[in-house]
């Protein structure tokens, strides 16, 4: 994975593939709803951990790992890249890297949801 991933919000080929191969006609909407619920919950929990002084790094890493997993399921490349960058950042410390990434994380989540909803029609 490279910084090139930052340019792609949603991997259209992958997303179209999972929609066309699925057995339900409503897959795109169901994925959009699940993604929205999941990321909102994770981001709220991450904010809670940051506001409580940045302890429980393993819990926060677990949440970020889950966020990356959800992103990869639907082909949300930019979101996957950002979460992976924070998880693999060895220089700034985990919470510092997470704090810096939060604005772009929020923005990317919004962009991703918009893209999925657009595809869902």
């Amino acid at each position: 994975m490279s910084e090139h991933e930052m340019e792609i919000v949603l991997d259209e080929t992958h997303f179209r593939r999972i929609i066309s191969e699925s057995s339900s006609e409503d897959t795109a909407n169901q994925l959009a709803d699940a993604f929205s619920t999941q990321v909102t919950q994770i981001v709220d929990e991450l904010n809670g951990l940051l506001n409580s002084g940045g302890t429980a790094e393993q819990t926060a890493r677990g949440l970020l790992h889950r966020l990356r997993g959800s992103a990869e399921v639907i082909g949300a490349r930019r979101l996957s890249y950002i979460t992976r960058s924070v998880l693999e950042n060895d220089q700034d410390g985990f919470y510092s890297a997470l704090r810096s990434a939060l604005p772009s994380l929020h923005e990317t989540i919004e962009d991703t949801l918009m893209e999925i909803r657009k595809k869902a029609g």
Binding site: H14, R17, I18, E21, S22, S23, S24, D26, T27, Q30, L31, D33, A34, F35, T37, Q38, G62, H65, R66, R68, G69, S70, E72, V73, I74, G75
Partner: protein, 210 residues
Amino acid sequence: MTKQNKSPDIYRILVVDDDLVQCVLIKCSLDPDTYSVTIANDKQQALTLCERQYFDLAILDYELPDGSGAEIANALSKSYNIPFVFITMIDDSKRARRPIELGALSYLIKPVTPKQLVILVENAFAEIEHRNNLQKAVDVHGTIGLALGIIMNNARISKNDGLMHLREYCQPRNLSMRYVADRIVAAYDDYIKEKHKKPFDLAKILQSLG
């Protein structure tokens, strides 16, 4: 509470994954006329469901908030006799084989597509059927039956055809069916113990007997 019995026309699948998006993808991938999918988001929920319901197969995530998929895998095989497959994010090939060591029928590495999921599930049910055939053979006919099960599965033939092949092989060579059956079962046992390192070659085994 009494366990809900299996409906004969539909396969019951338990999905254990804390990723809601992955759960939705699995549910949307499997034909609801063939598969009934129940979702558990953690280990406790999964084990509670297993106490109450019958499942033909479980699809497990390797990493869960309240315990690893390995712990669930142990509970499923020891307490509930439910076969399982893994879908994991582990992308290191050495660690990715861990599910097989835990007794999984197969595994996939995320991200997965619906088609890959369907193939994973279909293959898992084929493997379950194969194992059931072998078990039935052991139960009914002892060693000869077990060898017959291996032949049936290996050559994808019926019980009668398998028996005919076994007879046709033994008679001209003046070998007892029991002797040949013992060799086939021993060779298959080695194949399983060596974790499928070499392919199971029935023709080669028979050739070595004369």
